[in-house]
């Protein structure tokens, strides 16, 4: 039993570790060619990441990445490719922030309304792709790509302009423009108080986002749903073998729409992190979280813990590379290459180990058969 578990863990971690090492090696080669010292650059980054304030930044960055990763993973579990997380989260955050800015309610209720609106918008927009798939046979990859473009350059751009609060939010800073600010009651507070129980005082005006708790809840919910419920079993079964699942009484069409709706509902929460942080939906929000979410889900192999590790790795690279601007050890853009290589190397490594494992299983099965009387 222990040996089998050990083997499983080895198979599960060998591939991502190999991918990480490969990415570091490739980045080092690029850095040497461009005349920088890779060791100095990595040293600076790690030293920077050991500061409490940097760690907070990393967690703040990892929070939306994790939620995006889970959103993609839910669809992945059923062999659906939700490329539309990008459009879903931007649209959902925009509408939720607008609604949140219009109403005033008691604290808990206000937050709940904002979250509910965000999830509903994300679910509806993603569900549309699911409905198009089951009623019209349109591949969800294509439809979500088109829906992304419509949400981002059409609906989103238009609504931001329509709903933009008049004038600048903070006097003297023109960049802080967006929807009507949400009352204090609608915002999730920061976790500085909790964190400072364990650590020293937080400086530089940093604050650990309270949405982190929401992300953890999403992760636990995902784990329970997929691994501990009838629905999760149907979902995984449909993903592995849709024909067998159908023969077992799982309605494939309903599963597709449900998976897309759930994926979109979680995607709707991705942008909430930023809305809760700044208090409104800015006219130039953080973009690209949906696409990095795909990378995070792939690297984390759709596993709730794995996605968390992957989100932390990507967030570490994003945040700690900022120090390179000041130390001058290398160009900070090297981490973007590193992220790209990690993800390519990881998917290749997973494919290679998957086949190696299949061969090993076939061999051990053959050996077991040969040992028993025919």
């Amino acid at each position: 039993m222990n040996v089998a578990l050990g083997r499983r863990i080895m198979w599960a971690t060998a591939a991502p570790l190999a991918a990480l090492l490969f990415a570091v090696a490739m980045s080092s080669i690029v850095l040497v060619i461009s005349g920088s010292d890779p060791l100095a650059a990595y040293g600076d980054m790690i030293a920077h990441a050991r500061k409490l304030e940097t760690m907070i930044d990393i967690l703040n960055r990892a929070t939306p990445l994790y939620i995006a990763g889970v959103a993609v993973a839910i669809a992945f579990r059923m062999n659906l490719f939700n490329i539309g997380v990008e459009g879903q989260y931007l649209l959902a955050a925009l509408v939720a922030a607008h609604v949140g800015g219009l109403i005033s309610l008691p604290a808990a209720l206000h937050v709940a309304v904002i979250l509910l609106v965000a999830m509903s918008v994300g679910a509806a927009y993603s569900g549309l792709a699911g409905v198009l798939k089951v009623t019209r046979g349109i591949n969800e990859v294509i439809s979500t790509i088109m829906l992304n473009a419509i949400a981002i350059s059409g609906l989103g751009a238009w609504l931001v302009r329509e709903w933009q609060a008049s004038g600048s939010i903070e006097p003297g800073s023109a960049t802080r423009v967006g929807t009507t600010p949400i009352d204090e009651s609608g915002l999730i507070g920061d976790l500085n108080g909790v964190l400072e129980v364990f650590t020293r005082d937080i400086k530089q005006g940093k604050s650990l986002t309270g949405v982190l708790v929401l992300a953890l809840l999403v992760g636990v919910g995902y784990h329970v749903l997929v691994n501990r419920t009838r629905f999760g079993f149907d979902l995984r079964a449909s993903g592995i073998n849709p024909f067998a699942a159908r023969a077992g009484g799982v309605p494939p069409k309903r599963m597709i729409v449900t998976a897309m709706v759930l994926s979109g509902a979680v995607a709707g929460l991705v942008g909430v992190a930023e809305v809760m942080n700044v208090g409104f939906f800015p006219s130039n929000p953080i973009r690209g979280l949906g696409f990095i979410g795909i990378a995070v889900a792939l690297l984390g192999r759709n596993n709730p813990l794995g996605i968390g590790v992957a989100a932390l790795i990507f967030a570490f690279l994003d945040v700690s590379s900022g120090v390179l601007q000041f130390t001058g050890a290398a160009s900070r853009e090297i981490v973007v290459i590193m992220q790209g290589v990690i993800i390519l190397a990881a998917v290749v490594a997973y494919e290679v180990t998957r086949r190696a494992r299949e061969r090993e299983e076939a061999r051990s099965a053959a050996a077991a058969l040969a040992g028993s009387p025919a």
Partner: protein, 411 residues
């Protein structure tokens, strides 16, 4: 009706085009604008359509060989950077070649992952799309920041290749110009649109247009093309005939990347931007994919799709008062009525009702709104694709093995 179907393809398409121009001419009269059939509109349509066309042709090569290429966008981004870098250092033509090389490099990465390692095509494509902007950003930070007028997000001005204006038609005697200025209903509109296509035609545009018949010839009239298409329909059959399926797939995907790279180099060229700017592809690789689907995986279809998608951009570009975009709404409504009639004659009740409802919504919007916001022309290509997919998915025929993993020796 049967007589019409017996006409040769070019004649049918010419009739469709004439019908379309007639529709545009009539519709724009209601809005008191002439921008729908202005020479500047067709000229802009051509320029905006070319990157979409090239990306679509790139997608065609890959998918005809059985490899889905979502990474076109990333390969296009590589094309923009290498195109700009090449043009700045070695001249405009070298820029195009290096743009092709940059895109082909992206194609090679996609080929290695999908063909040699059997990674899911969509996943590998997404990875290329993440890697490419990172790579170009790093390259910009290393190289463009050292140039006068360059920075981490942009390059200095990029030189371009020459132009030609078709003699007799658009210069010299300028016959089309005469007809255009005569202001005769419909005929002047056709002349205006055609003149826009014949004036100041960039040599790159000409090459891109010639690549359409070249692709059709290469894929459907040569042994190479037949073998390549076998790899996209039934690779096992090709394998049994002694075709090296992996090699054909590799060549196809690298060509695919090269086309996307040329599309990127075109965007950088003075035809559209004259400068490398981070994020300037704005999803046009994906629109190329859309043109591929709309064109039913055929070169001429892709050209029509690319022009159709380039047209709203071309109209929207100079449409400051929104009158022409407003007219486009009515065109959309009328086109949807056509779809409804088509669906009704085939006895597809749901489709008919859906088309009528959508058409009604477009017509209602046309009547209620005085003008249409600028974002409508931005998203129109994507909306058209979704509508086309909703009504015609069953009529489209993608290569049978596109997206399917293929391993040698499993036949």
């Amino acid at each position: 009706m049967r007589r019409f179907a017996e006409l040769p393809a070019w004649a049918r398409w010419a009739l469709y085009a004439a019908l379309g121009v007639l529709l545009l001419t009539i519709v724009q009269g209601f809005d008191d604008t002439n921008r729908l059939t202005a020479a500047s509109s067709s000229q802009a349509m051509l320029r905006w359509g070319m990157p979409i066309l090239l990306a679509g042709l790139g997608g065609l090569f890959a998918e005809r060989a059985g490899i889905v290429n979502i990474g076109l966008e990333g390969m296009m981004i590589l094309g923009t950077w290498f195109g700009a870098w090449g043009a700045l250092n070695y001249g405009a033509w070298a820029g195009l070649l290096l743009g092709i090389a940059g895109g082909a490099l992206g194609g090679l990465i996609h080929a290695i992952a999908t063909i040699s390692f059997g990674v899911d095509h969509v996943i590998s494509g997404v990875a290329v799309n993440i890697l490419a902007p990172g790579a170009t950003r790093f390259l910009s930070s290393e190289i463009f920041t050292g140039y006068d007028g360059g920075s981490i997000t942009q390059s200095p001005r990029v030189p371009g290749v020459g132009h030609i204006t078709v003699p007799v038609l658009a210069s010299g005697p300028d016959l089309l110009g005469d007809v255009m200025r005569a202001d005769v209903f419909f005929f002047s509109d056709v002349a205006g649109l055609t003149r826009g296509l014949a004036t100041q035609l960039s040599l790159v545009t000409l090459i891109a247009l010639l690549l359409v018949p070249f692709t059709a010839w290469l894929l459907w009239r040569t042994r190479f093309g037949l073998r390549l298409r076998v790899c996209g329909e039934r690779p096992e059959a090709g394998e049994s005939q002694g075709i090296n399926v992996y090699r054909y797939k590799y060549v196809a995907v690298v060509i695919s990347g090269g086309f996307a790279g040329l599309a990127g180099a075109f965007i950088v060229s003075p035809e559209l931007s004259g400068i490398y700017l981070e994020g300037q592809t704005t999803g046009r690789g994906f629109i190329g994919l859309a043109a591929l689907i709309l064109g039913n995986w055929r070169p001429s279809g892709i050209l029509i799709g690319a022009l159709l998608f380039g047209y709203p951009f071309g109209v929207g570009l100079r449409d400051l008062d929104g009158a022409a975009s407003h007219s486009l709404l009515l065109v959309n409504a009328i086109a949807l009525v056509g779809v409804a009639v088509w669906a009704h004659r085939r006895g597809q009740r749901t489709s008919t009702i859906l088309a009528v409802v959508l058409s009604g919504l477009a017509a209602m919007w046309y009547l209620v709104a005085e003008e249409v916001p600028d974002w409508w022309t931005d998203i129109l290509p994507y909306v058209i694709v979704l509508v086309v997919l909703v009504f015609f998915t069953q009529r489209l025929r993608p290569p049978a093995a596109a997206g399917r993993p293929y391993r040698k020796g499993e036949a």
